[in-house]
Amino acid sequence: MQEEDVFIILADDDEDDRLFFEEAFDELKINTKVATFNDGVELMDYLNKENSLLPNILFLDLNMPKKSGKQCLQEIKKEARFKDIAIAIYSTSASEEDIENTFVMGANVYIKKPNDFKQLKKVLSNVVTINWQYHTSGLNKDNFLLRL
C-alpha cells in the first residue's frame, strides 16, 4: 500500500449499494483503497482490533441490522483513537431528524444516496477530495448536508 492512498471504509447492509460504491471508486481516478462491511457489528469488530488500519474516511449507512449507523457513530466518537477519522453519513433518507441528530453526534458530512450513477461518482469524488481540516473547522448545520 502506498503512502498517498486514501483508505475508505463503507458500512452498509445493502449489497447493491456496496457494489455501486466500489464500482464508483474503481472508475474514479483517485488513489483509494476501499473496504466494505455488511453491518455495524462487523465494522466495530474491525475498528476495535488494535492492529487494524484505521480509515481516512468512514461512510456510515444509518439503517443497518444488529447495530445501526447512529450507534456506531456514538461508539466511534467516544474513542480518542478514532478522532482523526472523517465520518460521512451515507443514507437513503434525508429526514430533518436524522440530519440534525447525526450532526449533533459529531458526523462530518451527510450524503443522501443519489439515484444516478454519475451523481454518485461526483459526490464520492467531492467527499474524498475535501480538505477535511478546512471543512471541519467551518462546519455548520447548513453545509453539513452535501448538496450537488
Binding site: 447493491d16 455501486f20 437513503t92 433518507s93 443519489p114 439515484n115 450513477f117 454519475k118
Partner: protein, 595 residues
C-alpha cells in the same frame, strides 16, 4: 317578591305594636275622663246635700221658733215638743254639715260663724222661754229679747244664704272646669277610633297584598314543580333530600323511575336504596354516603345500579348542604342522574379515538415506508438504469434503447409521485411552528427554489409588499413555491409567463365566499398568471388529491401540488380559491386570517 313579603311582615309587626300602644293609651285616657265625670257628678250631689242641710238647719230653727211661739201664745207645753226636737235636729244637721264641708276652709269658717249665731239664737230662745216661765212677758227685757232674737234669725238667714251662694259658686266653678276638660273627650275618642280604623284598614290591605303575592308565588311554585317533574323525566335525572337532624330521606318520583320502580313504591331510606346499587360499587357508594352524612357534601359520585329486571344503568350523583334562611334547619340537597347514554357514547368515543390513534400510527409508519423503503428500490432501479445507459448502451438494439428510455421516464415519474406524496403527508399543523414571518422573504425563497424553471421559461414575477404575518414559515414557502411553480408549469407555449402577486387586507363580511369565517379580517394574496387557464367548472376539483386536468404527457404535474396548497392554507385557518379562463390564465386567491 318574597323579599317584599318579608319586608311587609316587619311593617305589619310595627303597625300591630303601634295599634296596641294606641289602644292602651286610649283606654287610660277614657278611664281618666270617666273618672272626671264621676267626680263632677259627686261634686254636684255634694253641693246639693250641703244646700239641703243648710236649708234644713233653717227650717229646724224655724220649727223651734214656731214651737216656742205656739207655747208663748197658748202656754200649752205640747208646743214645746217641736221646740226641743227642732233644737236637737239642728244640732244633728249641723254635725252633718260639718262633716260634709270638712275640706272647704271657707265653709268651715262660715260654719263657725253660723255656729256662733245658732248658739246665740238658741240662747236667746232659752232666755225667752225662761222669761215666759217667770211670767215677764210684757217686760222690757222680754221685748228686747224678741227683737234680738229676730235680728239673730235674720243674720242666720243671711249666713245660710251666703253659704248656699258660696256652694253654688263653687259648683259653678267646678262645672266650668270639668266642662272644659270633658268637652274634648268625645272628639278625642272619635279621632282615636278613626285612627284605629285606618290602621286596621292599612293592615288589612297589606295582608291582602301579601296574600295575593303568596298566592301568585304558590301558583308559580306549582308550575315550577310540575315542570321540574317533567324535566326530571325528560333529562333522566332525579332529586333527593337528606334531612340531617332527623336522619331522614326524601326521594323524588323520578328516582324511583330511574331505578325501574313505581314512584314512592318503597320507603325512601339508604337500606332500600343500596339494594339497587351494583354489588361492585356498593362499598364505594356506602363510603361516600357515610362521608356525606358527616360533611354534608357529596362530590361527584359515579356508580352503577341494577334494576330488578337485571338492566345495569350508570348513575352520577352530586349533593350540597342547604341551610334554610327561615329556621336554620339543615338538609342535603342531592341530584342523581342516569348517565348511561353518556357513558356509552364516551366509551364509543374512546374506542374511536383508539382506532384513530392506531390509524395515525399506521399512517406514520406508512410515511416511513414511503420515505425509506419505497425509495430505496426505486433509487436502485434508477442507478442501474444509469449504469445500463453508460456501460451497455452500445450493445443494445435501437428498440432496447427506446425501452430503456421508457423505463427511465416511468421511474422518474414514480420518484416525483413519492416525493410529492411525502410532501403532502408531512404538511401537518403544529402550533409551535407558528411564527411572525416576513412573507416577502418567503416569496424570495420560493423564487430561489424555482430559479432554474424561472430562467428557463423567462418568467416575469411582480409582487406587492406583504406585511408580517403569523404563519408556519416553511409551509408558506412551500405554498408560494407550489403556486408560482404551477403558474409556470401551465404557461402557454412560446409565451413567457407573467405572474402578478397582489396583496390587500379585507373584511370577512365583505367576501361572501368565505364560509363561516372565524376572524373579522383576512390577508388576501392573489396570484394571477397569463397561462393556459382552466374551465371554471373545475375550479374546485383542481384542489383534490391526484386530480389532474391535463394528460401527464403534456404537463408534468402529479396532481398533488395544489392539494398541498389547500392543506397548508387550511392549516392556517385560511381559504384558497381558484378562478380560471381557458387560454387567458388562472387566478389563485389565498386568504390568511389577520389575528
Amino acid at each position: 317578591m318574597l323579599r317584599t313579603i318579608v319586608k311587609s311582615e316587619r311593617v305589619l309587626k310595627i303597625t300591630f305594636g303601634i295599634s296596641l300602644f294606641i289602644i292602651l293609651c286610649m283606654g287610660g285616657f277614657a278611664y281618666k275622663h270617666v273618672r272626671k265625670l264621676v267626680d263632677s257628678f259627686n261634686l254636684v250631689e255634694h253641693t246639693y246635700e250641703v244646700n239641703v242641710q243648710l236649708e234644713q238647719i233653717l227650717s229646724y230653727l224655724k220649727d223651734s221658733e214656731t214651737g216656742q211661739r205656739g207655747y208663748l201664745i197658748s202656754e200649752n207645753t205640747e208646743f214645746l215638743q217641736p221646740f226641743f226636737s227642732g233644737r236637737e235636729n239642728t244640732n244633728n244637721t249641723f254635725a252633718r254639715l260639718k262633716q260634709l264641708t270638712k275640706n272647704d276652709t271657707v265653709q268651715q269658717n262660715n260654719l263657725k260663724k253660723l255656729n256662733t249665731l245658732i248658739d246665740k239664737k238658741l240662747k236667746a230662745l232659752d232666755q225667752i222661754l225662761t222669761l215666759t216661765n217667770e211670767n215677764k212677758l210684757n217686760s222690757k227685757q222680754f221685748n228686747a229679747l224678741l227683737i234680738e232674737d229676730k235680728k239673730i234669725m235674720n243674720e242666720i238667714r243671711s249666713k245660710v244664704s251666703e253659704m248656699i251662694n258660696h256652694q253654688n259658686e263653687l259648683l259653678k266653678e267646678r262645672k266650668k272646669l270639668s266642662t272644659e276638660s270633658l268637652s274634648n273627650t268625645p272628639i278625642i275618642i272619635y279621632s282615636v277610633l278613626i285612627l284605629m280604623l285606618l290602621l286596621l284598614l292599612l293592615t288589612y290591605f297589606r295582608i291582602n297584598k301579601n296574600l295575593k303575592i303568596l298566592k301568585f308565588k304558590n301558583g308559580q311554585l306549582e308550575v315550577f314543580k310540575e315542570s321540574t317533574n317533567q324535566s326530571e323525566i325528560v333529562n333522566k335525572h332525579s332529586t333527593w333530600t337528606y334531612f340531617t337532624e332527623e336522619n331522614r330521606y326524601e326521594f323524588s318520583d323520578n328516582l324511583y323511575r330511574l331505578l325501574g320502580e313505581q314512584p314512592q313504591s318503597f320507603e325512601p331510606n339508604l337500606e332500600n336504596f343500596y339494594q339497587f346499587v351494583h354489588p361492585e360499587d356498593v362499598n364505594h357508594v356506602t363510603e361516600q354516603v357515610t362521608k356525606m352524612m358527616e360533611t354534608e357534601n357529596l362530590p361527584f359520585l359515579y356508580y352503577r345500579i341494577v334494576q330488578k329486571n337485571g338492566t345495569i344503568r350508570h348513575f352520577k350523583a352530586y349533593a350540597k348542604v342547604l341551610v334554610s334562611s327561615e329556621d336554620n334547619t339543615r338538609r342535603v340537597l342531592g341530584t342523581t342522574a342516569d348517565v348511561t347514554e353518556e357513558v356509552q357514547s364516551f366509551k364509543l368515543l374512546e374506542e374511536r379515538n383508539l382506532e384513530l390513534e392506531r390509524n395515525n400510527k399506521e399512517l406514520s409508519s406508512f410515511n416511513y415506508v414511503a420515505s425509506h423503503d419505497l425509495q430505496e428500490p426505486l433509487r436502485k432501479i434508477q442507478t442501474f438504469i444509469s449504469r445500463l445507459e453508460d456501460k451497455e448502451a452500445a450493445s443494445l438494439s435501437e428498440k432496447g434503447i427506446l425501452y430503456l428510455d421508457r423505463i427511465k421516464k416511468a421511474a422518474t415519474r414514480m420518484r416525483l409521485l413519492i416525493d410529492d406524496l411525502l410532501q403532502f403527508s408531512r404538511t401537518n399543523k403544529s402550533e409551535e411552528a407558528f411564527a411572525v414571518t416576513n412573507m416577502n422573504i418567503m416569496l424570495e425563497n420560493a423564487k430561489q427554489e424555482l430559479a432554474e424553471m424561472i430562467s428557463e421559461k423567462d418568467a416575469k414575477i411582480t409582487a406587492d409588499a406583504i406585511p408580517m404575518i403569523t404563519v408556519i414559515p416553511f409551509q408558506i414557502q412551500q405554498l408560494f413555491t407550489n403556486l408560482i411553480g404551477n403558474s409556470i408549469k401551465y404557461s402557454k407555449k412560446n409565451t413567457p409567463p407573467i405572474i402578478t402577486i397582489s396583496y390587500s387586507k379585507v373584511k370577512a363580511d365583505d367576501v361572501l365566499k368565505l364560509k363561516k369565517p372565524k376572524y373579522n379580517y383576512y390577508h388576501k394574496i392573489v396570484f394571477t398568471d397569463n397561462g393556459i387557464g382552466f374551465e371554471q367548472e373545475y375550479a374546485e376539483n383542481i384542489f383534490v388529491l391526484f386530480n389532474r386536468l391535463h394528460n401527464k404527457n403534456e404537463y408534468s404535474g402529479t396532481g398533488i401540488g395544489l392539494s398541498i396548497c389547500k392543506k397548508i392554507v387550511e392549516n392556517h385557518q385560511g381559504y384558497i380559491f381558484a378562478e380560471g379562463k381557458i387560454n387567458e390564465g388562472a387566478i389563485f386567491e389565498v386568504f390568511l386570517p389577520l389575528k
